[in-house]
Structures are given as structure tokens and as C-alpha cells.
């Protein structure tokens, strides 16, 4: 890279709601500063101009749900020096990964008026099941401050500082009374990675796991608490594990452990 050329940023979309890439445009106060430091080389939601790769940093939103997309993500990897997945869809398969727990192939064939129009894989899988990923940014949606941290870390050749401890840490730091202990409200905070700022407890509700499993979680212990301590039904417990990060391994295994009990 010469002193004059700016690093090229690309934003790619797979199966998703567009919310995580919108987080970049939602950096209203920082957007023009960021675009002063990087060349937005490929970002279809924002621009019809396309600059050819290779790209210094690729942000990938969305999960892989079609055969074409499984090919496309490999092509994206080939033209990207650094590839970062953004959000629960790209890092864990997203809410659409709920299909992974049912037999979708048979489902669709039995169900559609025109099954031949439908072009989809039986599963929704994270990008890391298909290509090497340099960094995974969690969240449904991602936190825009964490996004800025990741972008600036890679532009400066350092590792992003993204904590992997649980939501409980953020809750304690904010001085929020524990909703589970004080009110008996079921909360996934103890096993969910921080990043939202303990949003749900601060609004008087239990965490529902947007940021996926923390580093070394203990979901089995939390299930025990919910079932025995709070009287949550097994069906509700399974539903709770099967949310926006249902296919992330610790949550997936825990839901499967209780599914047929």
C-alpha cells in the first residue's frame, strides 16, 4: 500500500436482515471520518460504485443458506486480505438456523405450491463453516462502537479489543439489580457474551442471548437454575436456547439436551 492509497473496505451480504451493515451507516457522527480513512470499495447498500478487489478488509453479514452463496463466500475470501463476520447470522447462522433443527428438504417438497421455484439449502450455517474467518463480531445486531473498534484495529494492524466475558459483568458494572435473583426473571446473561451494555436487564427484562455464548459458558448449570429455581417449563427452556444464536455450539447442545426430555 502506498502512502497515498487508502485501504479498501468491502461489505458483503448473505442471508440477513441488513441491520448489521446498517450499523455502519448508523455511525452518523463517525461515518464521514471513517470514509476519510478508508475507500468504500464495495458496499451495495450504500453505493452503486464498485471498485475491484482485492480488498484490505471485508465485513461479511449474513449466513450461508444457498449453494450459490456457499460458492460466493469462497470468492469473497479469495479477494479479501482480512475477513471479519459481523452479527449473529454470519457468526452462528442467525434466527434462520432454526431450520437446522427440522427436516427442511422434506418439509419444502411436501409443502410448496411450486417447490421447483425454491432454491435453498437444508441448513443455515455460519461463514466459518465455509472459509477461514479472521475475526467474528457478535450481536443481533452488532454494537456499532464494537464495529468501529474492529475496523480501526484492523486498519492499524492490531488485535480488536472485544471482551468475551458475560453480560453479568456489564450488569454489575452498571449497578443494575440482578433481574434473576431479585425478581425471578429468567435471564441468559450469565452465559451470554457482553457487548450490548446489559441492555435488557436495564429495561427490566431478562437477557435473550443476542451476543451468543460467552467464552467458556456453563449452560447446563443455567438450565438447572431455570428449571428448578425459577420453575420454567422444559419447552420454554428449549425455546430460549433456540433464539438468534440457536446454532452456536454451546446453545445448540444445551437445547438438544432438553429437547426430548
Amino acid at each position: 500500500m502506498t502512502a497515498k492509497s487508502k485501504p479498501k473496505l468491502a461489505v458483503w451480504k448473505f442471508a440477513s436482515c441488513d441491520g448489521c451493515q446498517l450499523s455502519l451507516i448508523d455511525c452518523e457522527d463517525e461515518l464521514l471520518a471513517v470514509t476519510g480513512e478508508v475507500e468504500i470499495a464495495y458496499f451495495l447498500e450504500a453505493s452503486r460504485a464498485v471498485v475491484r478487489g482485492p480488498y484490505d478488509l471485508s465485513l461479511v453479514e449474513g449466513s450461508i443458506t444457498t449453494a450459490e452463496d456457499a460458492e460466493r463466500i469462497r470468492a469473497v475470501r479469495r479477494v479479501s486480505k482480512t475477513l471479519v463476520t459481523i452479527g449473529a447470522c454470519a457468526t452462528a447462522g442467525g434466527i434462520q438456523a432454526l431450520r437446522n433443527f427440522v427436516d427442511v428438504e422434506e418439509y419444502i417438497a411436501a409443502v410448496y405450491a411450486h417447490p421447483e421455484y425454491i432454491n435453498t439449502l437444508a441448513t443455515s450455517t455460519p461463514v466459518s463453516e465455509h472459509v477461514y474467518v479472521d475475526f467474528q463480531l457478535r450481536g443481533c445486531p452488532i454494537n456499532k462502537w464494537q464495529l468501529i473498534e474492529v475496523v480501526s484495529a484492523y486498519l492499524n494492524g492490531r488485535k480488536p479489543f472485544i471482551p468475551t466475558y458475560s453480560v453479568c459483568m456489564e450488569c454489575k458494572r452498571r449497578g443494575i439489580t440482578c433481574v434473576m435473583v431479585a425478581q425471578g426473571t429468567p435471564c441468559l446473561g450469565p452465559v451470554t457474551q457482553a457487548g450490548c451494555g446489559a441492555l435488557c436487564p436495564s429495561y427490566n427484562r431478562g437477557c435473550y442471548g443476542c451476543f451468543g455464548p460467552m467464552d467458556t459458558p456453563n449452560p447446563a448449570s443455567l438450565s438447572e437454575w431455570w428449571l428448578k429455581g425459577l420453575g420454567v417449563s422444559t419447552a420454554d427452556l428449549v425455546r430460549a436456547w433456540r433464539g438468534f444464536n440457536a446454532y452456536a455450539e454451546p446453545f445448540r447442545k444445551e437445547s438438544e439436551a432438553h429437547e426430548h426430555v
Binding site: 436482515c17 446498517l22 453505493s47 442467525g94 434466527i95 421455484y117 420454554d236
Partner: protein
């Protein structure tokens, strides 16, 4: 010049999601127009089955990161309809308020970041910012004011966490609003400027005869409530939507195409969104919004889809005005939500997403488990109208260079602010086991 050519835009830019356009011209004649949505289906209506009623607002929000509040609102209204609960007073006002926030952020995003670059000849807003820095900064700050409302009331701007069936998990105290009120006073001025700014753009002469469909309410510009009405005589209850409208499964799109079923003229395309709301509800806009619309050269009905950018700006102004009215009169409710008791029933809800009418229906069993769901988003409803616009738009422009015609066609699609990620998520999983 030789007039056999194909115009293909493989991936439309500055729309939310993945769409493509193919236009075929043979011997100087327009032969085919295909606006395709190839966003992979995500099967929301499939996996909503078996979930709890209380999960519907959080799950359906994930259909669209640009308008999650719309999904939350249509779903909570449908559930409340199923359980026979009415939410009124300050809680109802707060729902209008969070919707104002979403309209402001979504409209400002489209007007400034996605659509204005077409009129001023830029590939995107970032390039536009070099020439028009003040306009882009105004747009970003206006968008932020909308996001601030959603964030304060919803917890965060994308996929807010505070909306529940019956109301909210927690309602903010009055003092938390104060800073927001000051910023919204600035936003009101900025919104007036936005209307006048977009009003000066050059618009192609392209008046169309649409059937406009939107909610209509006796006392207010519609967000959450009203009858479904049209300028061609339709006036129905929300629960009767599926009797008058139908979705077709078309090969080229992963989104279903909605049509209006009419007695005389078969299945007809129709138009939802800002132009439709405006045409049916001009009388309910605030005086400032009405005056500014007129000053920008609009009449009380606008049939030119290219002017939707002006109408979207007028709606932004209305939303700021309405947010200020609600905040200045806000009294804290005595409880954050009305308790609900599930019962076996079917509930219907419709609200006005930034892009137009958003219909939800849920069948729920006695303990509150969802048995079936039906969601009809605005872009699916506009798909046929977008194609019809292109059929009418292209023939008189066949002399343009391919590049120029391509850009103009893209612009004609962007008139609808299509939210393709929403519309493709609705391939229906109808279980018919024999």
C-alpha cells in the same frame, strides 16, 4: 440505432437487500421487464409456529434491520387483537412516538443516503458529501434524531428490546426526554429544509394512475391503527385484508407478489407507502407539514413516484412534529404494560411501516403458542407496481445510452425504497399433510 438489447442490473445498489432487474428490448420494442428478488428465503412464518406469542415482536423484528419497529408494532397489535386487549392513553402515545423515531431514521436514510444521490448525479452519499457536505451532514443528524427516539424508548436503534405485547418492559421517566426535545426542535427546522431541498430536484414527467392503499384513521395520520382504505373505494377492517388481497408465488422472485382482488377487473397491482398514505391522509398532516408540502410544490395527492422523495420528506417533518407533540404532553403511565391473558384465537394487525402497509395474522392456542403466522410486507405488495412503472417508463426512453437508461431504471425502483430483505422472507410454509 439498433434497438435489440438487454439491460441487466445483477445486483441493485442502494436498496436494502438483494434484487435484480432484467429489461429486454427487441427491435425497438420493450418485450419484458423482470424485477427479481433473489434474497434467500429465511422462512420466518415457518419457524414462528410453535413459538410463544410473547416472542413474536423480538423474532419478527429480525426480518428487517431498517424497520424493526414496524414488525414489532404489527405483531403486538395482532396479539392484542387475538387476546381482546386494548392499549390506550400514554402507552398508545409512546407507541406512536417510537414509530415516529423509525420513520425519521428510515426516511432520512432513504432521502439523503440512498435516493438524493440519483437526483444530484452521484454514485453514493459519501461522494455526494464532497460537493454537498452540509446537506449530507444535515441528513445524518436528522437520521440520528430519529434513532435517538428509538434508542431512548427501545434501548437500541436496531432491534429494540423494550417493546412487548401490552406495552413496554420499562417506560422512560419524563426527565430523560429533555435533551431529546431540544434536538427535535432542531430536527423540525432541518425537516422543513429537507422538504424544500428535495422539492427543487428535477423530476421526470411521470404521473401514474395508482390504486393507493393505506391505513386511514378518523383523527390522526396513521401509524398503528385504522381501516385499510384506497382511493378507489376500498374501506375494510384489518381482519378482512386477505379477502381483498392475495399473494402469488412467481418463479422469478423469492418474494410473493401481492395483488388486489377486484370484482370487475381481476387481479390488480396496487401501491403502498408514503405516496399512498399521503394521498389518503393529507388532511391529517400537521399544519406545518401541509404548508411546507405546498411550498415545495406538492398538491394534496402526488401521482409521480419520482416525487416520493418529497413526500417522504414531508412525512419526516410530520413525524418530528408529532414526536414533539407527544413528548411535550407526555405523562408517565402508571404501569409500563397492560397484562394480557392468552386464549385460543386468531389476531390481525396492520401498521404503517416506513415503506407501507405491514399486515400480520397469527393463530394462537389457549396457552399462547403460535399455531400459524402470515406476514405481508410492503415491498412484496409493491413489486407488481414497480414492474408496471418500468413498463410505462422505459418505452419513451429507449434512445438513452444503456448506461443512462440503466441508472434511470434503478432510480425508478429506488422510488419505492424497496426493502428486499423484508419481502423475501415470506415464502410460506403451509403444512398440508395428507
Amino acid at each position: 440505432m439498433s434497438m435489440s438489447r438487454t439491460i441487466k442490473v445483477d445486483a441493485l445498489a442502494r436498496v436494502e437487500g438483494e434484487g435484480a432487474l432484467t429489461v429486454t428490448v427487441r427491435k425497438g420494442e420493450l418485450k419484458d421487464v423482470q424485477f427479481r428478488i433473489f434474497e434467500p428465503p429465511r422462512f420466518f412464518e415457518g419457524f414462528l409456529r410453535g413459538r410463544r406469542y410473547a416472542e413474536a415482536p423480538d423474532i419478527t423484528a429480525r426480518i428487517c434491520g431498517i424497520c424493526p419497529v414496524a414488525y414489532q408494532m404489527s405483531s403486538v397489535h395482532a396479539m392484542e387483537n387475538a387476546f381482546g386487549v386494548t392499549v390506550d392513553g400514554p402507552l398508545r402515545e409512546l407507541r406512536r412516538l417510537i414509530y415516529c423515531g423509525e420513520w425519521i431514521e428510515s426516511h432520512a436514510l432513504h432521502v439523503y443516503m440512498l435516493h438524493a444521490p440519483d437526483f444530484l448525479g452521484f454514485e453514493d452519499a459519501i461522494r455526494m458529501a464532497h460537493k454537498h457536505p452540509d446537506a449530507v451532514k444535515r441528513g445524518l443528524r436528522l437520521k440520528k434524531a430519529g434513532n435517538d427516539i428509538v434508542t431512548l424508548l427501545g434501548g437500541r436503534e436496531i432491534h429494540p428490546i423494550n417493546v412487548r405485547v401490552g406495552g413496554f418492559y420499562r417506560v422512560p421517566a419524563k426527565r430523560e426526554w429533555m435533551q431529546l426535545i431540544e434536538e427535535l426542535k432542531w430536527a423540525r427546522e432541518a425537516a422543513v429544509e429537507t422538504v424544500l431541498w428535495t422539492g427543487q430536484f428535477d423530476f421526470p414527467d411521470f404521473e401514474q394512475d395508482y390504486e393507493f392503499v393505506a391505513l386511514r384513521h378518523p383523527d390522526e395520520y396513521p401509524f398503528n391503527e385504522g381501516h385499510i382504505a384506497s382511493n378507489k373505494g376500498l374501506d375494510i377492517e384489518v381482519r378482512d385484508f386477505e379477502r381483498h388481497f392475495e399473494e402469488e408465488h412467481v418463479a422469478r422472485s423469492t418474494a410473493l407478489h401481492a395483488v388486489r382482488k377486484t370484482a370487475g377487473s381481476g387481479r390488480q397491482p396496487y401501491h403502498v407507502g408514503p405516496l399512498a398514505r399521503y394521498a389518503l391522509n393529507f388532511d391529517k398532516l400537521s399544519p406545518l407539514a401541509q404548508e411546507t408540502a405546498k411550498a415545495a410544490g406538492l398538491r394534496s395527492v402526488c401521482n409521480n413516484p419520482f416525487q416520493s422523495i418529497v413526500v417522504r420528506s414531508v412525512e419526516t417533518l410530520y413525524a418530528v412534529d408529532e414526536a414533539l407533540r407527544i413528548l411535550e404532553n407526555y405523562e408517565e403511565p402508571d404501569r409500563p404494560y397492560v397484562p394480557v391473558t392468552p386464549r385460543a384465537s386468531t389476531g390481525y394487525g396492520a401498521s404503517e411501516a416506513p415503506r407501507g402497509l405491514l399486515y400480520h395474522r397469527y393463530e394462537v392456542d389457549a396457552d399462547g403458542t403460535i399455531l400459524s403466522a402470515c406476514i405481508v410486507p410492503p415491498t412484496a405488495q409493491n413489486q407488481k407496481t414497480v414492474e408496471r412503472d418500468l413498463w410505462n417508463f422505459i418505452p419513451s426512453r429507449l434512445d438513452l445510452s444503456k448506461e443512462e437508461l440503466t441508472w434511470q431504471c434503478e432510480q425508478a425502483i429506488r422510488n419505492y425504497d424497496p426493502c428486499i430483505s423484508c419481502s423475501a422472507h415470506f415464502l410460506r410454509l403451509e403444512l398440508r399433510k395428507s
